[in-house]
Structure formats: structure tokens, C-alpha cells
Subunit: 287 residues, 2 copies
């Protein structure tokens, strides 16, 4: 694959490591793509595990990077953080015809679209599972045999479905307020219908609950969900994920966090727990 | 003073406390003003010390609030964080004639302007030292006898000069990459000249180094300054502050942080040290 070497957009020292933003030409999406990466100080001497963070609707690589405060913990634990963008962008990339926030730009839903006009550029699953790991492996001091994944909202859906669809890739999976079953909520129905077409059987391959029902498995799962999250009842529906995991015997730690909403203040509060959870699975915890 | 009760713009649970943004009519600036406040969980049962954070050029109440990660430490220490905006805003508020980022909107420099057309609205010193504390005292579970102040860049200048001009108000003062002597740098010369007029004798009242030379004193000072900060040589000049403090016998802990720049990644890395420093002075440290 003729992927050009990524170009550094910015770099800043942070908790003894470096927070970087890269831009590169993507052969998969046919666009320029950006991603953020935090390399902790331990990266000077060793290849380190990678924890992926997939962001939610409207976000870019920046939101988690500037708002979650995760670098402090990553620097202690010695893990690399990688935060991709949430969709292709740029000239020629189609957007929601009404400019809605929940489809098109900023709303790639971590799948490869098969419907025109989306199929040409909206290939976020191949980008994140195939192309970007190659770039990370050659650009950062990363040990790609040790990867974990987490995400928020649409990115929680992404973390769950990508881990379910690519077993063995991630040692652990966690999510903040994930869209638990896109087949059963307005955001998901719009996205899956738009990117994949009307056949709901096809949608099952990109719905965490349906994937589990159909036999896919996770190594274990940590989920935090705020009880004051305005999207809880109509869009997120964690009870569907709990039920699917229970039926399949997948161990899930589902924490309902009293009074927390859908914001990065919620993520910032609990990201330390998630990183320590992943570090245990990746065997880099100090404790 | 006929100050209306502030209205809550947003509230979010964060590290067991609440992060709020307020809007209120300001009698001092003649505009609506916004400020952010984090109230830690201890605020349910007690009146707590207040740590002020004054932000830099182009910022609002939001930057520190979403980027610094300070709530985690404030929740542990039991201190309220208050982050004001950096200038008046809104219809009728004049801006830099060229729309420059370093004067006018987002660049109030924490002083009361005396030159037309700025004098009418640009009264940030009176706002922060007189009006906003009254609002904080009546709106939040704050113990106004225990206050500390810190700031970044233009806000570091603000923290230093307000503490020097109002002795006894703040138990401790700290700064991230402060403008050490606005009389001696382009940002400061433009701002002081614009807001105060050409008489440099007047400027001395709003220059930390000149205030110290003229006899004002601080209770002690912590400063962090990144060595890779692009503004270090031409704008910030921490050596002037070091020299003024040394001559006056003011104890200063000046830490040059290797490789750090001017960003909130720098602030996020060291804000815990600053909050613990302030907590010691405010006698609320657990350790």
C-alpha cells in the first residue's frame, strides 16, 4: 500500500512525553487524514502498548486529546494513546445532505460504507484496522502485539464492534456511554441505513449486540454510563448490551455513574480507571 | 451595586463535584459576563477556599476549564476553582481596530482602562477584584477569607499584578509563563499604551516588576516557564521578574521546564503542583 509517511502537524511536551498530531495521505479513504498520538517518556527506550480512543459524533482527533486529561495516566503507565479522526474530510467528501451532525462528516461510525456516494471515502473500519496501525507501527515506538481499545458514544460503538469483528487484536475493550445497539436507535438507524443500505441483516455485522448474539466474543468489557446523560434512553441503551453479554457469558463491568452527563467532564473523571483496566490486560501496570 | 443574580449556562458533574458556567449582568463592565466555577464535593458541607485562574490572550472562561484537568486535584484538595473571561464582550464593546488578537476582545489585561473608547467597558480589575468576588461569595459555598490566584501568560501578569495591587487578598500567587513585565514587551506596550495612554509612569502600576520595585510585595511565588515557549524571549522575560524579586527579597520558586511550550499541555502537566502549593498556603492540604 502506497501510504506516504505522516507529517507532524504539531508537537508539544506533556507529562514528560510528547503529544503529537500527524497528517497523512490515506490510500483507504482517498483523503488526507489526521490523528493524535501521545508518546509517554518510556517510549524513548522501549516499544510500548497502544491504547486507541475512538471519539463520538462531531469530534475530531482533538477532543479526547485536549479534554480528557488521559496523558497524565498514560505517562505513568507507559502506554501510547492514539486518537483518530471520526470520518474522512476534505474536498470531494460528501456530507449529510442537510448538514446534520449525525451523518457524514464527523460521523463515520467506524465501518466501511457500501452505498453510493459514501462507499468511496467512508471506509473508517479499514482505515483504523488496517492502514492506521501500519502507520503507527512505523512512526511510533509501538508494540502492536499489545493493543487495547476504548471509545465514547459513537466511538464506544466503534470500540465494541471493531473488537468483536477483529478478535485477537485487542487485549481489552472499554467504552464511555457507547451506542450499544445502533440497529435500535435513531442515530444508528440513520447511519447504518445510509452507509449500508436498507437490508437490516447487513446491519447486524456492525451492531455490538447483534454481533454478540451471532457468536462474536470480547475478552471482557468495562463500560461507564452517566445516569444524567441526555442520550441514555433514546440512543445509548446500555441495558441491551448488558443483556446480550449476560446471555453470551461475556463478563461486563457496567458502571452507572450517578449524575454524570455525556460530556468530556464525564470522560475525564473516569478515564484513569479505564487506562488502568487496559494496562492490567496489557500487563504494564506498575501495581 | 445592582448586580443581578447569575444564571447557570451549563452544569456537569465532574470528579464528584460540579463544573458550572454562569452568565450575569455586570454593572462594572456594562456587559453580560461569563465565568466558570468548579465546586468540589466538599462544597456540599462546608465553605471552601477559592483558587482563581486568569487566562491568557484569546481565551475565555472555557480554556482552563476544559483543557487543564485541574478539577481532579481540586476535588481531592477541596478548593473551588473560578475562571473568569478575559475581557468584556458583546454589542457596543470596542475591539482592536485591526481585529488583532492581542488587544481588545479576549485581551483585557486585568486592568481598568482610562483611555477612550476603552474606559467604558474594559474594567477587568474592578470586575475581578470587586464585583465577581461578591457574586462568588453569594453564589458558591466559598470562604472568601481564603483565596489564592494563578494565571497563564496575560493571566499570569494578571495574577501577579492583582496580588501586588491588593495585598492581603490572596494567600498565595502562582503563574504559568507570565508576562513578567508588560512595560518591556510588545504585547504589554500595546496594551498599556492603548488602555492607559502614553504616560509610562502610569504603566508602572500594572507591571509586576515595576510594582515590586516601587515597594509592593507578594506572599511568595511559584512560576513555571517552558524553555520551548515561543514567546519566552520577546514577550515573557521571566528573568526580569526573578531579578525584581531577588532585589526585593521576595521568595520565588522559578522552574524552567525543559522542552515545554506555551500550550495547555504545559499547564495540564504542572497545574497539580500549583494547586498543592496554593492548598498549603490555604491550609487545606491533606498531607
Amino acid at each position: 500500500m502506497a501510504t506516504l509517511e505522516p507529517e507532524i502537524v504539531s508537537t508539544a511536551r506533556c507529562f514528560g512525553g510528547t503529544q503529537r498530531v500527524y497528517r497523512h495521505r490515506s490510500a483507504v479513504t482517498g483523503t488526507d487524514m489526521r490523528f493524535a498520538a501521545f508518546v509517554p517518556p518510556q517510549g524513548d527506550d522501549a516499544r510500548l502498548p497502544v491504547v486507541w480512543f475512538l471519539a463520538g459524533l462531531t469530534c475530531t482527533e482533538e477532543n479526547f486529546t485536549v479534554k480528557a486529561g488521559a496523558q497524565r495516566v498514560a505517562a505513568e503507565l507507559g502506554v501510547i494513546l492514539v486518537a483518530p479522526d471520526t470520518s474522512p474530510r476534505g474536498e470531494g467528501v460528501p456530507d449529510d445532505p442537510d448538514g446534520a451532525y449525525d451523518f457524514g462528516l464527523g460521523a463515520g461510525f467506524y465501518l466501511d460504507a457500501i452505498q453510493a456516494p459514501w462507499a468511496k471515502h467512508y471506509r473508517m473500519e479499514s482505515y483504523i484496522m488496517r492502514e492506521l496501525p501500519e502507520i503507527v507501527a512505523t512512526t511510533l515506538p509501538a508494540d502492536m502485539k499489545r493493543q487495547a481499545i476504548m471509545g465514547h458514544s459513537m466511538g464506544g460503538h466503534g470500540a465494541l464492534t471493531l473488537a468483536l469483528r477483529h478478535p485477537g487484536t485487542f487485549a481489552s475493550v472499554s467504552a464511555f456511554a457507547p451506542i450499544a445497539s445502533p440497529m435500535n436507535c435513531p442515530w444508528g438507524e440513520k447511519a447504518l441505513g445510509g452507509y449500508l443500505g436498507p437490508d437490516r441483516a447487513t446491519w447486524r455485522g456492525h451492531d455490538a449486540c447483534a454481533l454478540i448474539e451471532d457468536g462474536a466474543r470480547l475478552p471482557g468489557l468495562l463500560v461507564d454510563q452517566g445516569t444524567a446523560d441526555g442520550f441514555l434512553e433514546n440512543q445509548l441503551k446500555p441495558q441491551l448490551l448488558e443483556a446480550a453479554c449476560a446471555k453470551a457469558g461475556i463478563p461486563v463491568t457496567m458502571r452507572r455513574q450517578e449524575g454524570y452527563d455525556h460530556s468530556y467532564f464525564f470522560i475525564a473523571t473516569f478515564v484513569e480507571d479505564h487506562l488502568r483496566w487496559h494496562a492490567r490486560a496489557l500487563s504494564v501496570s506498575k501495581s
